[in-house]
């Protein structure tokens, strides 16, 4: 008998995490509207000097809950394990992808916090830390793209009478993966849609991640609930 106690708690943690993330996102003064890469060192330094409190508290909040998505990805990996595959490889792939995005995000988070720690330092140093933070935050997509593609592939290969996830979930993941691609090139330009404050690298990427979290959360919830109903009936 599979042990399922606590799964729903982990699942319900997801909306709680989402609310905290959105709050932190709004609290950080550099996200709405996103800071421009073309800001001079002086402008960056004065940003960190003027908005120190909001920078620190929002980033601390992110720091606490940076890994909040991992239980959800693991729940997904567990669903993949139930699919009609010959080997556990696809679920291993998802587990391998799970740790990457939070780690990269926490590195970006650290650079922002460092920038806000001594706002009176030389402007070039603050600009360097700001650059490191923004670049890391923007380009942290590789594992998310892989996660979406691998999940889509796993679903396409899950050929049984009652597949674990409906096929549209696979198509959806493909779409999200494509939406995340431009952000990988977020450092190529200092302005325009590809720059880290641009439409593609900032808005499309972050909205795609948000939509993915919401949709997958709902799909996961439905799947787990259905499974629990099935096992309850069988028992």
């Amino acid at each position: 008998m599979r042990r399922t106690d606590g799964e729903l708690i982990m699942l319900w943690a997801l909306p709680a995490i989402a609310i905290i993330w959105v709050s932190a996102f709004v609290l950080f003064p550099g996200f709405l509207h996103p800071m421009s890469p073309t800001m001079s060192a002086e402008e960056v330094a004065s940003f960190y000097r003027d908005e120190t409190a909001r920078i620190r508290y929002s980033m601390i909040l992110f720091n606490w809950f940076g890994v909040g998505l991992i239980p959800t990805v693991i729940l997904l990996a567990m669903q993949v394990r139930r699919m009609a595959h010959r080997t556990p490889i696809m679920s291993y792939c998802l587990i391998a992808c799970a740790g990457g995005p939070p780690t990269l995000f926490l590195i970006a988070n650290m650079f922002w916090l460092l920038g806000g720690f001594r706002p009176e330092r030389a402007p070039e140093l603050t600009q360097l830390l700001n650059d490191l933070a923004w670049v890391t935050f923007t380009v942290l997509v590789p594992y998310l793209i892989a996660q979406c593609l691998l999940l889509a592939l796993a679903i396409y290969w899950d050929r049984q009478d009652k597949p674990v996830f409906p096929t549209w979930v696979a198509h959806f993941n493909l779409l999200i993966a494509i939406a995340l691609v431009p952000a990988a090139f977020g450092a190529l330009a200092l302005n325009g849609p590809f720059a880290w404050d641009g439409v593609l690298s900032f808005w499309v990427k972050n909205i795609a991640i948000a939509v993915w979290i919401v949709v997958m959360g709902v799909v996961l919830g439905q799947t787990i609930r259905r499974r629990r109903a099935e096992t309850a009936v069988a028992a």
Binding site: C93, A96, C97, G99, T103, D131, A146, A184, F185
Partner: protein, 278 residues
């Protein structure tokens, strides 16, 4: 080996054309997950070589002993290559996941405890972050603003190359986990000499650590011992395990216990086995 796994009626033999066969394999081959992971691994290593050696030209590494103007010049020469090349790296790094999954699976097939497979999976999943992505980020930020203070560019240069070369500990311990699993394995998934080759590889990774100490000489991050010999051993080791994994997949019978040997070449031709992805 020729029948598919679903209940629906499906043709047993693949169609004649190459493309048709490929499509048939993707849909019906029983080992498609394993072959998928293997091909992702092969493609990833090719891309890695091309991106790091030819597009970004960060390998072979420049010297830590250069002075600041030379380093700024180095960044200038490579400005576009660095940004584009590492942009592609940021796109494809996720390809490491199927690769690590395949290796972890090889350990699941062995007679040893699952701890080896799971430990390896976690170790190598996180190894790419200090060992490759941090370097990519540092180099990208270095190339981002050519008018940045040269001292800061120098720091980013150090940061990039030291994080690339100096974080071999993860790979070292990961290799040791794999080689101990191979030595203890009774199912003969890999030959024992491969475990010893892994030990050689692990030792050459130990040897890179002095890169944190020296700015010139054989032990600097571009030195004869810390880079060149290490790279030769690593490339050999990688080529060998790619071939061995291919043979493992060919031998795989999805059972338990010892892995069967590859059939004799003449035997396999007459059995008409399912076409392997080519």
């Amino acid at each position: 080996m020729t029948t598919s796994t679903e209940g629906t009626s499906v043709s047993d033999t693949p169609p004649e054309s190459r493309l048709g066969r490929f499509a048939w394999n993707c849909r019906h081959h029983p080992k498609r997950e394993l072959w998928f992971a293997w091909w992702v691994m092969v493609v990833f290593y090719q891309l890695y070589g091309v991106l790091f050696f030819f597009v970004t030209r960060v390998q072979p590494p420049p010297s830590p002993a250069w002075d600041t103007p030379m380093i700024v010049q180095w960044f200038d020469d490579r400005h576009d290559g660095l940004l584009v090349g590492f942009g592609i790296v940021f796109l494809i790094s996720g390809m490491c996941a199927p690769m690590n999954a395949l290796l972890a699976y090889s350990m699941r097939r062995m007679s040893v405890s699952r701890i080896f497979a799971y430990s390896y999976l976690i170790m190598y999943s996180l190894s790419a972050i200090p060992g490759m992505l941090v370097m990519a980020i540092a180099m990208t930020v270095g190339a981002l603003r050519p008018d940045r203070d040269p001292e800061l560019i120098h720091w980013l240069y150090d940061f990039a190359f030291l994080s690339f070369s100096g974080t071999m500990g993860v790979f070292l311990v990961g290799s040791v986990v794999w080689l101990v699993a191979i030595l203890l394995d009774k199912n003969n998934v890999f030959p024992k000499w491969f475990a010893y080759l892994g030990l050689c590889n692990a030792l050459t990774e130990v040897v890179v650590a002095p890169a944190w100490i020296f700015q010139r000489g054989a032990f600097a991050w571009n030195g004869a011992i810390a880079w060149w010999i290490n790279m030769v051993v690593f490339v050999t080791y990688t080529a060998v395990f790619i071939v061995l994994l291919r043979r493992m997949i060919e031998r795989e019978d999805f059972g338990t216990g010892p892995l069967p040997d590859l059939p004799d070449k003449r035997e396999s031709a007459s059995a008409g086995s399912v076409g392997v992805l080519r």
